[in-house]
């Protein structure tokens, strides 16, 4: 089995699915001749031609709007947003149109587009190349939101997204593009949407997280095991909406202590939804307050980003607090 990093895994997913389904079309800025600024769509144009790998003018609004039209007609478009931070121009087409067309048309039409792009921080990207805007998508009924943390999951989930009948926002933590390599099958496989992955089993605390923060959580888990003997369970949500609430509750039944770790700012981050859901439906499982370790409620900084993002220190602080109960 070949070793792949996330870029290669994504490229492989696109290639395989485009072969499998002639209606898949990739469009975005610099995706064709340049192969994408991160090379995720590298060489696709050579195999599938300029008709199916389209270099578009510079307008996310146009990219997503045209993708919606293509999907209405029957294509399966993959719209790349060069940096997810630039998606806001397209939100009217994503949230008002793609998310709502099935409902708006009484089920007659649907717009199952895939909107994908690099997200999240850790590469000194500053305010507009580091954001985690998943809350806007999770909060909009009609969208599926996915964020993988490993090459294997990236490929499997992108394949699932490309086979989905619903519009998907596919967020790729750019810091993980090249820093993680693992064995990724060349044969066809999918990772199901809506299922979390237990990245590490444990019995003392449940840490729910996604994206690059999975690795921070695993580091912190190692640290506290060595220092205090605490046994942390790390759950990688993978699909942010619909999130795997059963996995969370199952883990919580064991541990009684919940922590959510995410890069996105704290207020109304997905951690708030998870905390509210647990408090509403499983309060008898809790033996300690719920702790969220998140990005701060401030725009993403250029400097000191490793202190802005949840790090092992802050996760450790949170774990220490939870273990007192």
């Amino acid at each position: 089995m070949p070793l792949m990093n996330m870029v290669q895994a994504l490229n492989s997913a696109l290639r395989e699915e485009m072969r499998r389904n002639p209606r898949i079309v990739v469009l975005g800025e610099d995706v064709g001749r340049r192969g994408g600024v991160f090379l995720v769509t590298d060489s696709l144009i050579d195999e599938f031609g300029a008709e199916r790998v389209i270099d578009t003018p510079l307008t996310e609004l146009g990219i997503v709007g045209v993708a919606v039209g293509m999907a209405l007609y029957g294509l399966k478009p993959v719209a790349e947003i060069q940096f997810i931070d630039f998606i806001y121009e397209a939100l009217d087409q994503l949230l008002s149109e793609a998310a709502k067309i099935r409902r708006r048309t009484g089920g007659m039409y649907s717009a199952p587009i895939v909107v994908r792009g690099p997200c999240c921080g850790g590469v000194r990207g500053g305010m507009f190349h580091s954001q985690s805007p998943e809350s806007y998508f999770v909060h909009t009924p009609g969208l599926i939101t996915i964020m993988p943390s490993t090459p294997y999951d990236a490929k499997g989930l992108l394949k699932s997204a490309l086979r989905s009948e619903d519009p998907v926002v596919f967020l790729e933590p750019k810091i993980l593009y090249r820093t993680v390599r693992e064995e990724v099958p060349e044969e066809d496989y999918v990772v199901p949407i809506g299922k979390a992955r237990v990245a590490k089993e444990g019995s003392d605390v449940t840490v729910v997280t996604w994206g690059a923060m999975v690795y921070q959580a695993l580091e912190a888990a190692k640290l506290v095991k060595a220092r205090h003997g605490w046994d942390v369970e790390v759950i990688d949500l993978r699909t942010l909406f619909p999130f795997d609430k059963d996995a969370i509750l199952e883990s919580l039944e064991k541990t009684g202590r919940l922590m959510v770790v995410h890069e996105a700012p704290r207020t109304l981050g997905l951690g708030a939804e998870i905390a509210a859901y647990v408090a509403e439906n499983a309060i008898d499982m809790l033996r300690a307050p719920i702790k969220r370790v998140t990005g701060f409620d401030a725009p993403f900084p250029l400097v000191h980003e490793k202190l802005y993002m949840p790090n092992v220190a802050r996760i450790y602080m949170g774990l220490s607090k939870l273990m007192k109960y």
Binding site: T59, G62, G65, G69, R104
Partner: protein, 390 residues
């Protein structure tokens, strides 16, 4: 710019002339007509009599239906209606230019177009009343559509459908279909970013799409001359490299002729066209609007003289294609048929409560299933407490 010469920024630098634009700019500045206000023919047309009468009947039906929708709104049976009066020629003329397999992305003031494309009066009324046969299952007001005739219900934010039309056209091209896509929207919509993005893409990719801008001269209370400083709306298309034509929107034959030309161009693979149809919004923006606050009633009176139906009738009379008796019969027949349909739709039961949680995803997600239980439970309590929830 120095003097009247245009510099381009190509490398190597060169100068362009009007010919480089590729089409006659004057068409975007003029006003194409086949019939004048009095019904006299002033331009060429290539349409047989049956088709002309078909056009007329569609416009009559649209007018009658529009009146009924207004009445139904006043009695509270229809939530909101955007009156179509005075704009029948655009909807009918443009839609008749399409073949059956072509796609139409209208907005909400093309009642004639919905009829032409293939929605029945009953379907339109069921939709407006949002009863159990509502094809859109109670999702929104004032928009209409039907998949089997490739009529896509409009988004409520105006102009959002423009990029959709381009995407659909590009998809048809990629798939090797001969489908042409038409989008109709108003003067206000051209100010939004979606219009710009759509025109840009259409021009770059030579998409087989026809944009019809219904310039009815009012975007709620803002007159067109305040909507843009462009001398016409058609001229905007020129900026994107899209051939553009300005036409008298109250002349159904003119609209039809130009729309047909644009559709055939697209079908031949020659790319998009922008058609500005100049017309007039006789009624309020919607039943929730009061034009008396911002518009001179004298202006409306003026445009009554330019009523497209009366104008076309005059033309048909003059040509001997229609006489008073036939006309009266057309009106009577359709009035009575539509009235019967209204009565039928009026008494149909409402949609079930389930629709408010329907069609969010292809299959309901777990949160929707949980919330459905909550909704059901709340209904029992509503009944118990005798709450008014309509």
């Amino acid at each position: 710019m120095v003097g009247s010469r245009f510099y381009s920024t190509d490398w190597p630098f060169r100068e362009y002339s009007l010919d480089d634009i590729g089409f006659d700019l004057r068409r975007a500045l003029g006003l194409y007509r086949v019939i004048d206000e009095e019904g006299e023919q002033v331009g060429d047309f290539d349409v047989d009599v049956d088709r002309l009468l078909e056009m007329y009947v569609y416009m009559v039906r649209a007018r009658i239906l529009d009146d009924w929708l207004l009445r139904l709104q006043r009695v509270g049976k229809v939530a909101i209606h955007a009156p179509n009066k005075g704009q029948e020629a655009v909807g009918v003329g443009a839609a008749m230019a399409l073949d059956g397999g072509d796609w139409l992305f209208p907005s909400y003031r093309e009642l004639g177009a919905y009829l032409v494309k293939g929605m029945s009066e009953e379907e339109i009324l069921d939709r407006a009343i949002a009863n159990i046969d509502d094809i859109l299952r109670g999702s929104e007001f004032a928009v209409y559509g039907k998949r089997s005739v490739n009529l896509v219900p409009a988004p409520v934010p105006v102009g959002n459908q423009a990029p959709h039309a381009v995407g659909a056209a590009m998809a048809a091209k990629i798939l090797g279909h001969r489908t042409v896509v038409m989008a109709i929207f108003g003067d206000g919509a051209t100010s939004r970013g979606h219009f710009h993005a759509a025109l840009n893409f259409a021009g770059v990719f030579k998409a087989p799409v026809v944009f019809v801008v219904q310039n009815n001269q009012w975007a709620i209370s803002l007159p067109s001359r305040r909507q843009t400083a462009s001398v016409t709306f058609a001229v905007k298309g020129v900026a994107y490299g899209v051939p553009s034509v300005r036409v008298d929107g109250n002349d159904v034959l003119a609209v039809y002729t130009i729309a047909r030309e644009a559709v055939e161009r697209a079908r031949r693979g020659e790319g998009p066209t922008l058609v500005e149809a100049v017309t007039y919004r006789m009624g309020p923006h919607t039943t929730a609007d009061d034009p008396g606050k911002y518009r001179d009633p004298g202006e409306v009176k003026l445009f009554e003289k330019l009523d497209p139906i009366i104008r076309f009738k005059k033309f048909l009379y003059k040509k001997g294609f229609l006489d008073e008796d036939q006309d009266r019969r057309i009106w009577e027949e359709w009035s009575s048929r539509i009235e019967d349909t209204v009565k039928k739709c009026y008494n149909k039961p409402p949609l079930p409560v389930d629709v408010i949680l329907e069609n969010v995803y292809s299959k309901p997600t777990w949160n929707l299933l949980e919330q459905y239980e909550e909704l059901k439970e709340s209904l029992e309590i509503v009944r118990e407490l005798g709450l008014e929830v309509d």
